[in-house]
Symmetry: C2
Subunit: 260 residues, 2 copies
């Protein structure tokens, strides 16, 4: 099977032009088919604030009301997605920007939480890779914004880490899929205070231990849960690494317990 690398990037890397350009040059070096899934960093919150739209938080989690959804659509599908696409085109990478609504790639369902109304947030129900496969065969690089649709005309804000792992799993029937989560650190740290303590490998049972000991912080948990889920469901390799070193092969590789 051909190799396909699915890269998730977010945070500071997508917030300003210079960091985006540096990252895209690294991303470009990955050989074979690739898909980029991006977040929006703090740009949506900043734009909402400029527009006088209040960022609502319930129990520490952001709520996507109608105004905030419009901002997310403008920032994620507009500003961030199209700057990445035009930046990739400039360095010879034939990129296509997408949301989950385009081609109907990702259909989701409004989140139904027993206690919190998250607003226009979608949990993934179905991934359709028909057109993606066709385009990957043509050498096109899809660039996914963290938005999906419900199939009834409603766009929904959706976690980019989950989009990346869902696409990786769905495409693992056809490709040898490598999933790469980028963030600011070198990998998963065994000592949060020591930047150089990153673990080259992390097994699921070790991950559970580190979670219980509170060594792994809450921001990493969705990435790791999605990563281990992908590994269990057919993805060949999952790596957590620094956004500036994705082509180097460094970072933390998730491993099955058998290999620990």
């Amino acid at each position: 099977m051909n190799r396909l690398t699915v890269v998730k990037v977010g945070g500071k890397v997508v917030e300003e032009s210079k960091a985006i350009d540096h990252f895209l040059t690294e991303f470009r070096k990955i050989s074979g088919n690739k898909i980029l899934v991006h977040g929006g960093g703090s740009l949506a919150t900043e734009m909402a604030s400029k527009l006088g739209i209040e960022t609502k938080m319930v129990e520490g989690r952001r709520i996507t009301d109608a105004g905030m959804l419009d901002v997310a659509i403008m920032v994620y599908a507009g500003l961030v997605n199209k700057k990445i696409v035009s930046g990739l085109q400039a360095i010879g990478c034939n990129a296509l920007g997408l949301t989950g609504a385009d081609f109907g790639v990702i259909r989701s369902r409004l989140r139904n939480h027993p206690k919190i109304d998250f607003g226009f947030v979608g949990d993934i129900e179905e991934v359709n890779t028909k057109e993606l496969r066709l385009l990957l065969e043509e050498g096109v690089t899809p660039v996914m914004a963290p938005l999906t649709h419900d199939g009834y005309g409603q766009l929904l804000n959706t976690n980019a880490d989950t989009i990346a792992s869902s696409l990786a799993v769905e495409l693992s029937n056809l490709f040898n899929v490598h999933l790469v989560y980028c963030f600011e650190k070198q990998g998963v740290l065994s000592d949060p205070a020591d930047e150089n303590s990153f673990m080259p490998r992390l097994s699921y049972s070790k991950y559970q231990e580190l979670k219980e000991e509170n060594v792994i912080n809450s921001g990493m948990i969705p990435k790791l849960d999605n990563g281990f889920n992908a590994l269990k469901n057919g993805v060949t390799e999952v790596v957590i690494t620094n956004a500036q070193h994705i082509s180097s092969g460094k970072g933390t590789r998730l491993s099955h317990d058998l290999e620990k």
Copy 2:
């Protein structure tokens, strides 16, 4: 050759959900392959105003500075494009939203005007239909926002009427192309004061006469220039009609002088 209908829509029709939905239901009825090219109506100006970005005009024409370009990207490629795409998906039309940067569909050059610096405005240089053709064959409906790229990473604001005619001409080698420009009136009026005076046919020489007599207003001129240009360059039929009646076949048909 298979039939392909390229529809350009803008103005009030794209400004609010109810009008968009009504239009999309009409658009959906068109049989065969189709492409939708949209403008942004006054939404970009409104959003710029909310963000405190001044709309600069020189000699009656809008200037796209860096701030206004970001607004155009957010509104055209984000808000308007993705609402159309999710709306079409909801009624069974497999839409894909695009700008000229995606797939490198439309490369343009920064406008070089002897007197006015229009800012980030692009004039079309090259149309690449490779991936579009592939997707049209798969039954996908491309939805184009009025933005292009220069091939060096810069997005540029580009006239939607011109995008529609350029795509129509380029695809006329492979398809029997019908180009439809939608606006608020029933067609081209011979008496601007009389809504019912629309001409079922308009030849190029008659158009020149009406322009000299100032019967045709300035807003219609780019549509008609683009339309006659398309007709001369291989497009089968060009119609100017009301956005709510596109599937009815009504409106003004442009004709070669031979047929007048």
